[in-house]
């Protein structure tokens, strides 16, 4: 994987909102077929970083490069067109819509002409079911089912399958496992691996170290808006990472403080 091309790179990215500096000199890069885990506690600036990569915010200074060329996105739509897809915790799916309608929301396949273009339900169902099943959710066989009937993990997978189908090359997953149980999380992690296998550059945001270690190739820990550590799989143990995330304060100290019996 060392010869893989870097897809997305951030160089010295700063972001401030008025007088408040949120991100300082962020340097990150992610290659095709690689999972970059972005770890950080609440308030570390993860959301702002995601939004900066996804085109919601423009960096105050520094540059974003895609395939080695500097880019600037006018909005999330522009970032999407460039191939950066962001899947939020519960996002991208609509509980009371059918799987295929949800899959194609905003980019509906149509048949017919002029003002009589109709949503091509058959085609949409076929594609949606096929794509989702390819990601390993074999339980879905009917595109007319409502999304609300899927489990949390399946909804995430649907959103990821959707992003990949619509040409995403960089997949930003914002805390995809935060609200899920153990089994469902494993499900999502499998999907992450599948996306990686297909050669996508995945940025996996989480504060669950175990989940990160399970799929990550490359890790970055964000503390108060700056990259506090940047290392590869196998270079640090779970405890070391947890300590880093807690802001250098060792987990053992923390446990002592709250009286946990280790």
């Amino acid at each position: 994987m060392n010869d893989a091309k870097t897809v997305l790179e951030l160089r010295n990215v700063d972001k401030s909102f008025g007088p408040i500096d949120v991100l300082h000199k962020i340097n990150l890069s992610v290659k095709a077929g690689e999972v970059l885990c972005l770890l950080g506690d609440n308030g570390a600036g993860k959301s702002t970083l995601i939004k900066t990569m996804a085109g919601v915010h423009a960096p105050t200074s520094g540059e974003i490069l895609m395939d080695g060329k500097p880019v600037s996105f006018s909005g999330p739509k522009a970032a999407q067109e460039a191939g950066i897809a962001c899947v939020h915790q519960f996002g991208g799916t609509f509980p009371l819509m059918s799987i295929s309608r949800s899959f194609f929301a905003g980019v509906e396949p149509t048949k017919g002409w002029g003002p009589f273009k109709v949503f091509d339900r058959k085609k949409a169902n076929e594609i949606a079911v096929h794509e989702v099943r390819n990601f390993g959710i074999t339980r879905i066989d009917d595109g007319d089912r409502l999304v609300g009937g899927l489990s949390g993990g399946e909804r995430q997978s649907l959103a990821i399958a959707r992003a990949v189908y619509f040409g995403a090359r960089v997949l930003i997953l914002d805390e995809p496992t935060a609200a899920l149980g153990v089994k469902q999380s494993a499900h999502v992690l499998r999907i992450v691996n599948e996306a990686k296998r297909r050669g996508l550059a995945v940025i996996f945001i989480t504060h669950q170290v175990m989940h990160a270690l399970a799929v990550g190739d490359h890790f970055a820990v964000l503390i108060r808006g700056a990259i506090a550590a940047d290392f590869k799989q196998g270079e640090k143990t779970r405890e070391e990472i947890a300590d880093l995330m807690a802001g250098g304060e060792s987990m053992a100290d923390l446990e002592a403080k709250v009286g946990v019996q280790a």
Binding site: G91, F94, R101, A105, E108, K117, V118, K183
Partner: protein, 347 residues
């Protein structure tokens, strides 16, 4: 833990009961059952007064058509997660505008209608822009425009014609198209059906309809999916205002006069029709057929009561009970619709 159990259960084949389940889960089913039930009850109690006759049928259909033309676009807004109660003022405002322009001021009807539609579109646009720009709930925004437009209508009526109402008789052809009765059915019934057909196509067949559901389901995700959420909402407010204006014009054509008093019952009637028709108040779900059936049900209860020996005042009570039952049923249908995988029904 519970999730794991549910997943295990759902791995059993469930194909055997899908066809029945499909029908039961069909979102318009509740509205249909409700309408048939109400119809049967009124048919039984009103049989001796000819409830089941063309005249009886036309009677409540005429009443329902005026609500229906407004209820459908209001239902669209509900599906998109918004509410429009300003229709109660837009209807008399449009009726008065048309009546004043074409009556005392003697403008040709076509031009009068065009100006009236434009005025309604502007009000709808104001509603839409206020809602999308300010994040104030649409209930409050349209409540404000309801009173503002209502007050303005009264004031301007007094200024222009010195009275809060105006008489205007439409030319023959317009009267035939917009106001006359055919076999007891007013023209508005046919317009209602035509409009339902067009809007059915938009909501359920066109890609645009998909956007309405998406926006109501999760505005943030809809925006991320590239759907122009604000533009869509503004268009829906304009649609609702323009359809309401059309209903107002039909009223003028039918009754040869326009009133400027705000039509408060219309607000409740449209909301009731939508909810009884299975539209979810929080957005993201609803069907046109449901709204249509809900409006019919409301028409039967409001007008059909006259064909029975039941005290007229009790129709309000029936509507209240119906509304509650509908909301509870909507919840059940929603659960049924979304729980196919969890196997909860077997518990």
């Amino acid at each position: 833990m519970s999730e794991a159990i549910q997943t295990a259960k759902s791995s059993k084949p469930i194909a055997s009961r899908l066809s029945v389940g499909e029908l039961m889960r069909s979102p318009a089913m509740g509205a249909f059952v409700g309408m048939v039930l109400v119809f049967c009850i009124f048919a039984a109690f009103g049989y001796h007064k000819n409830f089941i006759s063309i005249v009886g049928f036309a009677n409540w259909m005429n009443f329902a058509s005026m609500i229906g033309i407004v209820a459908i676009p209001v239902g669209f807004l509900m599906v998109a997660g918004e509410l429009d109660i300003s229709v109660g003022a837009i209807m008399p405002a449009s009726a008065m505008t048309l009546g004043i322009l074409c009556g005392p001021y003697e403008l040709p009807l076509g031009i009068g209608m065009l100006i009236t539609f434009a005025m309604a579109a502007v009000i709808g646009c104001i509603n839409g822009i206020l809602v999308t720009r300010t994040q104030v709930p649409s209930f409050i925004v349209t409540l404000a425009t309801l009173f503002a437009v209502g007050g303005l209508t009264l004031t301007l009526s007094v200024i222009f014609v010195n009275r809060p109402q105006v008489a205007y008789e439409a030319p023959e052809l317009a009267k035939a198209l917009l106001g006359d009765r055919y076999f007891g059915f007013r023209a508005s019934v046919f317009w209602w059906i035509l409009l339902s057909g067009i809007l059915y196509f938009i909501l359920h067949k066109s890609p645009w309809g998909n956007w309405i559901f998406a926006v109501g389901g999760d505005p943030e995700s809809a925006r991320n999916a590239g759907i122009p959420v604000n533009r869509l909402k503004i268009s829906l407010f304009v649609l609702s205002a323009v359809c309401t204006a059309f209903a107002g014009m039909l009223q003028v054509a039918a009754f040869n006069s326009a009133q400027s008093a705000t039509n408060f019952p219309l607000i409740f009637n449209t909301i009731i029709a939508c909810v009884v028709g299975g539209v979810v108040l929080t957005g993201g779900f609803g069907t046109l057929i449901g709204i249509f059936l809900g409006t019919m049900t409301l028409g039967i209860v409001q007008q059909g009561i006259g064909y029975t020996d039941i005290d007229r005042n009790l129709s309000q009570l029936i509507i209240g009970i119906m509304l509650l039952a509908a909301v509870l049923m909507n919840g059940t249908f929603q659960k049924l619709a979304t729980s196919w995988s969890t196997g909860k029904k077997e518990d």
